[in-house]
Amino acid sequence: GGMLAVVVLLLLAAAGPGRAERDVLREELLLSPLPDGDVAATFQFRTRWDADLQRGSVSHYRLFPKALGRLVAALGVRELHLALTQGFWRTRVWGQPPLQAPAGAELWVWFQPTVTNVDKAWKELSNILSGIFCASLNFIDSTNTVTPTASFKPLGLANGTDHHLLRYAVLPREVVCTENLTPWKKLLPCGSKAGLAVLLKAERLFHSSYHSQAVHIRPICRDASCLAVSWELRQTLTVVFDTFSSGQGKKDWSLFKMFSRTLTDACPLASQSKVYVDISPKNKEKELLEVTPPPTSVHEATVQGDKRTYAVYDLLSPSLFNTSRSLNVQLKWKRPQDSSDLPTPVLHAQRYVSGYGLQTGEISTLIYNTHPYRAFPVILLETVPWYLRLYVHTLTIITKGKENKPSYIHYQPAQDRKRPHLLEMLIQLPANSVTKITIQFERALLKWTEYTPDPNHGFYVSSSVLSALVPSVIAMKDVDVEHSPLFTSLFPSSDGSSYFVRLYTEPLLVNLPTPDFSMPYNVICLTCTVVAVCYGSFYNLLTRTFHVEEPSRGGLAKRLANIIRKFRGVPPL
């Protein structure tokens, strides 16, 4: 009897999605004042669709954008993460980001095991995405694509993590601007007409220190029992406003000052629409800041190993718009805050290129672990284009003056014009330490067609990626993902004692030996001129007829002489 009931339940679950396809939209804005006075605003829009996109039968879309849904179904995508970023998140000053992305465009995709030709699907996918987002993702090819083995694990539901189904590429040169934002906004069910997306005004968003927009698609469990799959689309946008300099030295800000708009309503399609403001007390002192209007509730959470307090404005609660028609969240500091003691994040990194001349150079990466007593491992992923030839024997990892042997190394050498270098290492970072990783390289000579239009600007080397489980100072509770705020729930938390962090270092700009591109033309011009001059005199020699010149009346000198002779009374010449 019990068995039968289970079978019936399973059948019901299988038949269920056809009838009652539910899709839910949640929108959220997190405003967090950064230690140095800037303000970070993180928008997250999450569409959850209780339907199995992969089965191919689904073709009727409601909240989920059709363009992306068809893409996922047609190309066998299991997980897709695309980020377009302008600027660099300064981890040391701004702290751990909720979601960091490398400068430029970053795309990483897990394909379904049913996809036979992953490279072809990857090429097709990047071309289509390039069309959807008006970005030059079509420049993703085998020379900048890698298959990391350890750094990028699926964030969603996955059975088996065969890394041959993963592709990762970064285009550090990509410039992100309005034309990328518009298609991104178009994917939102409410567009930019209602809800939090009203604030997304391009001229303000790109007038900022950091702008990063991303799309994450992944399958997730439909419920706790996880018998069926739902698809989740997260659209995130992070922007950092320099309120300190634009606000005449004051660190106070308001929604209107930052976005030149205020919120008037929630998106009518959203089942949740909230604004979170980080009002965590700094340095265990009394609250220094004041937010107006009074929040509807206060939410406490442990985020990235730190206890934080958030003022919450629920746009769906009718009491919020009772007093005034629009919501303009304002934050005022009661006392000028001393910005001398910035809390340093537990993990941060820095990278630079050194050396002189145009033949060899050295890439150095410094990784800081500022945790007072805990050591933890970090996975470092380096992707270096083929025209910088890495000398792996020069790889040195030094911590506290001693050599630090990585416990795992995966190195895939580059092939000229085919694939980049891939270096992945698992490095143990002792407590309170700095680890320096250096590797030398030689610059290759490119063919003259391979140079970019502005070769003297230099060539970008994409950011290296640090993934780590950072031990938390305070214990974290396991929370229900569905009910916690969105900004805490993209990365899966493993257990209560540590949290996942992914950091990107600075992209590098390397000068390659660059020829003088006008040289061939100069040579042509010069030789042509010489040839033409020779030809001219030959031509003259050959075509002129020569005849004896009859004596004429003479030149100027003769006439002058004659005038003088006249005066002297001597007969002229």
Partner: protein, 495 residues
């Protein structure tokens, strides 16, 4: 240079044979008609007719009570190859056809014609009938519209979709005002019930994929005018062209395929603009409240009934009546495929296609037109490819491109041959292959003409050589000219 052959069988029921037949039954007859599209293209249509009398089974089938039953019974007896027609001539007094109707076109590839009036009237009727059921001059010119000089095409010819290997049909529900309306439509059910049968039938012509989406805050590009008399909003016909553009940006063409997209939009006007009616050119409201855009799709405005009490809570829940909507969309779909019923003499009766939405002979019409269009497309593609190759002398033709070109030519020729014999199905298949091959050859990335260095730029680089060399030559030429002129002048001076 097209020759299209339609096999026609004319079957005489007992008592319907006209007295003035030239020969005793059965016999064969061929009629040809010529149509010139432009100076170089002519289409010859050839009707190969067999005249015979009914067999015993056919006679029994014709004994049915109504034309519809007879049609169904006769369908089992016919040869069912695409493109062939069977016409049954029934006695003048037959009760099969209703009063006043002398031609009945069935759901399949047959028709019933009432005898009477001798051979001449029968001939003209047969001619009309075969044209209705296969192709007319206008349907062929529409298919060859690329070659017809401008201004000679009617508006109907421009409406037709281009022939393609596949089409994507997208149904979009536009809800510009989600705050006051929650609109729901059971599109999945409606597609399965109404659209899929038609597409199954059309699957012979092309691949179809159907999807749907709901777009919020998508508004039309025109603000409708308020009409005080009817207290409604009106969209006049001349403003309709401006309606689509802002919506189009939201529709999102499918990036994943290259097939043309047919858009069908259901627009639920916002509360402040409803009810909304479309006016035709004379100012009368359009009964379906819908319009279509040639080669693009159709739009239907679906008005939400105002709530009985003004205090009704917002948002208002709206369930779309899919029968009404699908009726309009299917009619538009037929229009876009050029399957609209043409003006026919009043004695013609067409059977309603029923659940399938499409009669067999209508499918044939589509196939005739698409085959001709495909062949024309192939020849245009290959001609422009040849022009490109003529322009760039040093272009590299890879072997696979060459073989695609050969295959396209061979397929196009075999399609022409099959058309001339009257095998519509194999002709269409061959023409499809020809299109695929020719497109593949034409769009091969190695044939991008930007890849090749243009000759005029090579010349420009060597200007520093040519210019100084040209100067003495030109100078001496000028000198020669001057001298010859002086030579001519001198003799006149002597006189």
């Amino acid at each position: 240079q097209f020759q299209l052959t339609v096999p026609v069988a004319v079957v005489f029921a007992p008592g319907s044979v006209p007295g003035d037949l030239p020969r005793p039954l059965p016999f064969r007859d061929v009629q040809e008609m010529e149509l010139s599209v432009n100076l170089r293209t002519t289409v010859t249509s050839r009707y190969e007719t067999i005249y015979r009398s009914t067999t015993a089974e056919e006679e029994a089938a014709l004994g049915a009570a109504t034309a519809r039953e007879a049609d169904a019974a006769l369908h089992l007896l016919q040869d069912t190859s695409l493109g062939s027609l069977t016409i049954y001539v029934v006695p003048e007094t037959s009760s099969l056809l209703p009063q006043g109707i002398s031609v009945y076109v069935g759901k399949h590839r047959s028709a019933l014609v009432r005898a009477g009036g001798g051979l001449a009237t029968l001939r003209t009727r047969l001619q009309q009938l075969t044209q209705v059921m296969s192709f007319t001059a206008s349907s062929i010119t529409a298919a060859l519209s690329d070659r017809v000089p401008d201004g000679q095409l009617g508006p109907a010819a421009r409406r037709h979709l281009k022939s393609s290997l596949g089409y994507e049909i997208t149904f979009s529900l536009l809800n510009p005002d989600p705050k006051s309306h929650t609109v729901e439509w059971d599109i999945e059910e409606a597609v399965n019930r109404y659209v899929q049968p038609v597409l199954d039938k059309l699957s012979l012509v092309a691949n179809f994929s159907v999807d749907s989406q709901i777009l919020y805050y998508a508004v039309l590009g025109v603000t409708p005018r308020f009409d005080k008399e009817s207290s409604s909003f009106l969209l006049s016909a001349h403003s309709l062209p401006h309606v689509i553009n802002p919506v189009e940006a939201r529709l999102g063409s499918s990036a994943a395929s290259l097939y043309p997209v047919l858009n069908f939009l259901l627009y639920v006007p916002e509360r402040s603009h409803s009810p909304l009616y479309i006016q035709d050119k004379e100012g009368a409201p359009v009964s379906t409240n819908a319009f279509h855009s040639p080669r693009w799709g159709g739009i239907m405005v679906y008005n939400v009934e105002a709530p009985s009490s003004p205090q009704a809570s917002l948002p208002l829940h709206v369930d779309v009546d899919m029968v009404r909507v699908m009726e309009v969309f299917l009619a538009q779909l037929r229009l876009l495929f050029g399957l609209s019923r043409e003006e026919l003499p009043h004695e013609f009766l067409l059977e309603r296609p029923g659940n399938e939405g499409l009669a067999d002979w209508e499918l044939d019409r589509l196939l005739w037109a698409h085959t001709v269009e495909n062949i024309a497309t192939v020849s245009t593609t290959l001609t422009s490819l040849a022009q490109l190759l003529d322009k760039i002398g040093n272009i590299v033709i890879k072997d696979d491109v060459a073989s695609e070109v050969y295959r396209a030519v061979a397929s196009a020729q075999s399609a022409m041959a099959e058309l001339a014999v009257g095998h519509l199905h194999s002709a269409f298949q061959a023409s499809k292959e020809a299109v695929t091959s020719s497109e593949r050859a034409f769009f091969d990335p190695s044939l991008l003409h930007l890849l090749y260095f243009p000759d005029d730029q090579k010349f420009a680089i060597y200007i520093p050589l040519f210019l100084p060399m040209a100067v003495p030559i030109l100078l001496s030429l000028a000198k020669i000219v001057r001298e010859t002129r002086q030579h001519k002048k001198e003799p006149t001076k002597m006189d």
